[in-house]
Amino acid sequence: MTAPILRAAAFAILVWATSSWAQVIYKSTMPDGRVIYGAEPAPGAKRVETLKPPAENTGVRPVGPKDEAAAQQGDLQREQQAARQNEIQQAEEALRDAEAALTAGKEPLPGERLGTAGGASRLSDEYWERQKGLEAAVAQARKRLDELRSTGR
């Protein structure tokens, strides 16, 4: 009873081993240096090697969930860094704009210089209010930039 089973098992193993053995790529190096890949060695080859399947863990692709997650994390960090850099650039531009507005705003607008009884002139309260606003805008822009720069450290 067991003999036929054993024979069948042996035959199955033989078939499996034969088919596995056949699953080979031969790399034949010819005397002139040419390389030929085939299902059998090239006649007259100087050297014949068998190729193994390319290993899963070679190359640069992520090979497991852990690597995949690490790669994704890296991508996320790069994106975040790019976004932060973009924010800093915008804040720098905003500061430059505010400083330019402050410089340009030093000149009184029509109606902001008032004549005095003595024949001289003085700047109106509106002028000084406007200056305060411009200075506040500069201070706010500078604060925002400093905050962004400090959070990245």
Partner: protein, 210 residues
């Protein structure tokens, strides 16, 4: 010359117009900047003398991607046929298959395992897959995609031995095809062509189904 397979031809084509480079950043522009494509990082790319973009990981005999842009009149040099933007994708595919068959006695005996219209870069084109055995009995598979424009014929192909290599790297080729884009100057005409193709093709499919 040993008539081996297309990979050998590719090696010859690749004979050193520009030095090979490792693909460090996947987005890569074609030699004349008319297209851009995502290539697998870590592979080696080279621009051939014919301004083709050749990419491989383990060597062109084991797997390669080849992106070709040629004038339509020079699309099929071996069979001396021209491509045209008025051709149906199936006609272009037949010309391309004939071109491969004319390479050597081994590709002449190829079997077409898939042949279907495909949209590439928003453009109506073809995709087919063939298999054949080389002179040492090793089965090679190739997938070729392409489309014709008025000014150029674009073709992307991937080839590898069925054993181990084809299935392993075919997804990389599919990603490359999916990411293939023509530059801005080509986009408008492509979109129009694509819309026309889709409407024609849908009608044709309807007829087939009935």
């Amino acid at each position: 010359m040993n008539k081996f397979n297309v990979a050998a031809v590719v090696v010859l084509l690749g004979a050193c117009a520009a030095p090979p480079q490792r693909v460090d950043s996947s987005r890569t522009e074609g030699p004349d900047k008319s297209y851009a494509v995502d290539l697998p990082v870590g592979w080696i790319s080279q621009v051939t003398q014919n301004k083709q973009l050749l990419v491989t990981r383990d060597g062109t005999l084991l797997e390669y991607m080849l992106i070709t842009k040629t004038p339509p009149k020079e699309a099929f040099p071996k069979t001396k046929k021209a491509a045209s933007d008025s051709m149906l994708p199936a006609e272009l595919a037949e010309l391309e298959i004939a071109e491969i068959k004319s390479e050597d006695q081994f590709t002449a005996a190829l079997t077409v395992t898939e042949n279907t219209p495909a949209e590439i870069a928003g453009r109506s084109g073809f995709r087919f897959r063939v298999r054949y055995k080389n002179n040492l009995g090793l089965e090679i598979q190739r997938v070729v995609c392409g489309f014709a424009e008025k000014s150029a014929y674009y073709q992307m192909q991937f080839g590898a031995p069925t054993l181990y290599y084809f299935d392993r790297y075919y997804p990389d080729f599919q990603k490359a095809v999916a990411s293939f884009q023509l530059s801005d100057s080509n986009k408008k005409t492509s979109r129009l062509k694509s819309e026309r193709f889709l409407s024609e093709n849908l009608t044709r499919t309807d007829r087939t189904v009935r």
